[in-house]
Amino acid sequence: MKQTHFCGSPDHRISRRGFLGAATGATALAADMTVLDVLSRPALAEDLKRQQKSVILLWLAGGASQFETWDPKPGWPTGGPFAKIPTNVPGTHISELLPEMSRRLHYTAIIRSLNTKIADHGGGYRLMDTGRRDEPGVEFPHLGAIIAQELAQPDSRIPDYVEMYTSTEGRRKGSAGFLSGRFNPMFLTESMIPENIRRLESISQIDHHDRAALRRLLANRFSRDLPSSAVGCHNAAYQRVRGLMASASLFDVEREPAAMRQHYGPTQFGEQCMIARRLVEAGVPFVKVARAWWDSHGQNFETHRELCADLDQVMSALLDDLEQRGMLENTLVISLAEFGRTPKINGSLGRDHFASAWSCTLSGCGIQGGALYGKTDEDGMTVVDGEMGAGDLFATIFTALDIDYEKEYMLGSRPIPIADFGAAPREAILA
């Protein structure tokens, strides 16, 4: 059976790294590994290289309009009032609402050909966050959990999967599904400081430490002769507590210089993306920042004038920041929603839900910057070239991160590929 989960307990560490399994004394080796040892083994070097990669998902919850962002159609009845503007990629135009991004498209691939069919919020969210349609009785892992499973260090001292979602509308917590509970997200809502990450004032640092040592003593005695991975994982979870507590400062934007904060802008979305960069810099494999709520059934143009200004500044600042730190080649920035919006403009000057022809972007790690993939017709009603489903998008994302998109998890006796059956990456988007 393939290993479907690990939690940092030693037995999992071995089985996850199959190549170590053959070596004698594998446990000791795993414990003492130095980077040099690692690099002398090509397979392991590959593995580590992959593990430096991270994802930041900008989740435009509620469904941003493709017309007002990445696939403008000015002059057509469905196009709305906004002009298109040229970008630093010759021949590619985007909406005038994204002037900053128009100067940074060399980082970014635009996909204009998503046809995902599901146009209700819950269903669209699950489709775009798991890469496949619901199946009753199966809890599929969400993108963040899969990425964390593939990229997190077993003994990591930082969170594996962080989600920020401040607005209450459409707030849905991602899930590890049938993967290990370790890969459930650390879910931040009202406060950007994770729950229970700080020591209570009533206990001193020393006592907190000694108490944990006492717990470990009891746990070790108990765990001896007890063949149970669940018990091992319990101990692993407690062993991660101190590391997680030490990572509390990652969530503190006050630690960023004023100039940097200004670059991201004063909005909450800006601050959260700055936190996302801090987390990724510290090695967190997956951070999702949700900006809700784009669901512009009424006043679509006012809504996008308002929210695109934020998206434009923050996404640009994030890409600049990652680039300047040399992190962009290892960080994949995704902008995505549960669906796009209708070509038809309704009586409230709104656009409704639309999943037949819409857009998203991939930037940075493994991505062919400046790529423009797929095409919609003049009115934006249908995809005419390069149609992609959610599974194809996932396959492309995995490939960009050097993760084999055909890898399978076992659910009981049933193999489940990480990108849905029949999905394939789109090479033209990949570096």
């Binding site: 000015p74 009845p77 709520w293 006012e302 308002e306 409230s348």
Partner: protein, 337 residues
């Protein structure tokens, strides 16, 4: 004399969205600004007449129109003002006017000037004859208190041409002297902002319409009230009337029967009532008592109304909106009785 009924005399369906309307010099002659980026002319005194589209000029939605003297001046989200030759239906003069969407174009009563408001948050005054820029002024912040772009939707001029009012997205109103362009008063209608800090973190409201009473002492402010779900225009149509010099609010009228934005307001010449129009997915024309705000009469319409012109003397109201225009005759108590 109070309005008791509206009798629709004519209407027309369209493919496009009509954002603004101006009355021509002939009875029954109207101009519309459209989502097809064009200006259209319609003569409804001739029932067979088809609307005529002017030649291309703007590159975005046409949202402001003024007929002044023999001039037709349009403003658009493309930031430009166009002076049209009505005869040839060609642009006579095109000028870059603002840095952001132009929201409204309005002529002064005596016909020498035209004013514009736009999302660069400026109110600008132009010479009608020469198209020369006269003045620009603002008292509206470019960013909302939540650091998102604000918008300057509404402008009104008093009947005697001495006063001008501007109203923005966050509910701030400034009143200006038209001689000096000095600010002479301000009002706040913050409910109309509709910022939702918890569920959806955005806003779709704003002050969308303003109108001075004929004596210039009162100012009617139109928009939308608190919205539960700001994905939709699901709030009450909201009218606030102020004695602006005193900063005193006279009344607030909220309408939950016909929801949405109040897009345009006009006063009766005797100041006894106020007519408003607007809507959500559907539309409304509503008459309010100007003293109490009480609803005197109301007509629901099948589509959102973006603008109207009201001829006080003829008692006709012509409105345009989502894929639709219509004209009504106003009937009053006296006539019916």
């Amino acid at each position: 004399m109070k309005p008791t009924s509206l009798k629709q005399t004519q209407e027309g369906k369209r493919e496009d969205i009509l954002f603004c309307i101006a009355a021509g010099s002939q009875p029954g002659q109207y101009f519309f600004g459209s989502s097809d980026f064009g200006v259209h002319q319609l003569d409804i005194s001739n029932e067979m007449a088809q609307p005529i589209r002017f030649e291309d000029g703007h590159q975005s939605y046409v949202t402001g129109l003024a007929v002044v003297g023999g001039n037709l001046i349009s403003g658009s989200y493309d930031r430009q003002l166009i002076w049209w030759d009505i005869e040839s239906r060609k642009p006579a003069r095109t000028i870059p006017a603002h840095n952001r969407w132009i929201r409204r174009v309005l002529a002064t009563p005596e016909g020498s000037r035209v004013v514009t408001v736009a999302d660069d948050m400026l109110c600008k005054v132009w010479n009608v004859e020469t198209a020369e820029f006269v003045a620009a002024f603002t008292d509206h912040r470019p960013l909302t208190p939540h650091d998102y772009p604000s918008m300057l939707y509404a402008v009104a001029i008093s009947d005697d041409g001495s006063l001008l009012a501007t109203g923005d997205k966050v509910g701030h109103v400034s009143i200006w002297d038209m001689e000096s362009f000095a600010k002479v008063g301000e009002l706040e209608a913050p409910t109309m902002y509709t910022w939702d800090p918890v569920q959806r973190r955005h806003s779709i409201g704003g002050i969308r319409s303003l109108a001075f009473s004929p004596d210039g002492e009162k100012l009617a402010v139109g928009g939308i009230g608190a919205i539960g779900n700001i994905d939709h225009l699901g709030g009450p149509a909201r009218l606030e009337v102020f004695q602006w010099r005193l900063g005193k609010q006279l009344f607030v009228a909220e309408d939950n029967d016909h929801k949405g934005l109040i897009e345009q307001i006009a006063w009766a010449s005797d100041e006894r009532w106020i007519v408003t129009a607007g809507g959500d997915h559907k539309g409304f024309v509503t008459f309010h008592d100007a003293e109490t705000g009480e609803r005197l009469h109301q007509e629901g319409t099948s589509s959102h109304i973006h603008g109207f012109v009201f001829d006080r003397d003829a008692g006709t109201l012509a409105a345009c909106g989502h894929q639709h225009w219509a004209q009504w005759n106003l009937q009053s108590e006296a006539e019916v009785g």
